[in-house]
């Protein structure tokens, strides 16, 4: 198959002339279109392979390396936090809240930390739901 031949005159038939197109004319145009289609396919393959190898694969390796590195560290940190710090934070904030009930001037200080510590401050209403991904500092419920 000669890919370079057909597109040098798609609008001109090889034999010229008007009237109904002949089988040779149609064949000629068909070959031209097939050539163009193949060129487009080659271009798309080249584009896809370039995108895969030069961008996606590199990014993928980078992200996987970070994940493999951070997953155990963060997992350990969160486990330690849940086991040691979280119960303490809960009881400390609960104690401060009960203290605030009789000493209202402390309310100002407590309110400053409400945006971050709100999951531990509404124990009477519902169980805290800390460490929810994407909810690092939500607006405290009023």
């Amino acid at each position: 198959m000669d890919l370079s031949k057909p597109e040098d005159g798609l609008s001109q038939s090889p034999r010229g002339g008007g009237g109904a197109p002949t089988v040779e004319q149609l064949q000629y145009h068909f070959e031209g279109l097939r050539g163009l289609f193949l060129y487009t396919l080659f271009a798309l393959i080249a584009l896809t392979v370039t995108l895969d190898l030069c961008f996606l694969r590199k990014q993928m390796i980078f992200v996987r390396t970070q994940l493999d590195d951070q997953r155990p560290k963060v997992g350990k940190l969160v486990a330690e936090y849940r086991k040691g710090t979280e119960p303490l934070v809960k009881s400390f904030t609960a104690s401060l809240q009960s203290f605030t009930a009789s000493n209202h001037d402390f309310q100002v200080i407590l309110d400053k930390y409400r945006p971050i510590l709100w999951p531990y401050m509404i124990t009477a209403l519902s169980e805290p739901t800390p460490l929810m991904p994407g909810k690092t500092s939500p607006v405290p419920p009023k």
């Binding site: 393959i45 896809t48 996987r64 951070q70 934070v89 009881s91 904030t93 104690s95 930390y113 971050i116």
Partner: protein
């Protein structure tokens, strides 16, 4: 006939490339999502730790004006007990003494 086969093979190659790109993109998307979740968890833990430490500091400062908070601070070992021989405690709540 030969040209048709070539066309089909090229089309098949393109299909394989496209599928590989989609697979790689999906894996990349979920990996990034997992990484973001991990980072979010880390930030939450650090934020809570810093906040509770600051709150303990402020409560300690507040105890100078209002000593009624002292038992609470002593319970969490933020403030040393009056008769205790302990050195001044680090300013972060500890497990309450039972």
């Amino acid at each position: 006939m030969k040209s048709n086969l070539f066309c089909t093979l090229t089309l098949g190659l393109f299909l394989v490339c496209a599928l590989y790109t989609v697979w790689l993109s999906v894996r990349y998307f979920f990996s990034v999502q997992e990484l973001q979740q991990l980072q979010s968890q880390y930030v939450t833990v650090e934020q809570t730790r810093n906040a509770i430490q600051s709150l303990a500091n402020e409560a300690l400062e507040y105890s100078k004006k209002n000593p009624r908070i002292d038992p609470l601070l002593q319970q969490f070992e933020i403030k040393p007990k009056p008769g205790g021989t302990n050195a001044p405690a680090p300013v972060s709540p500890k497990a309450p003494a039972k």
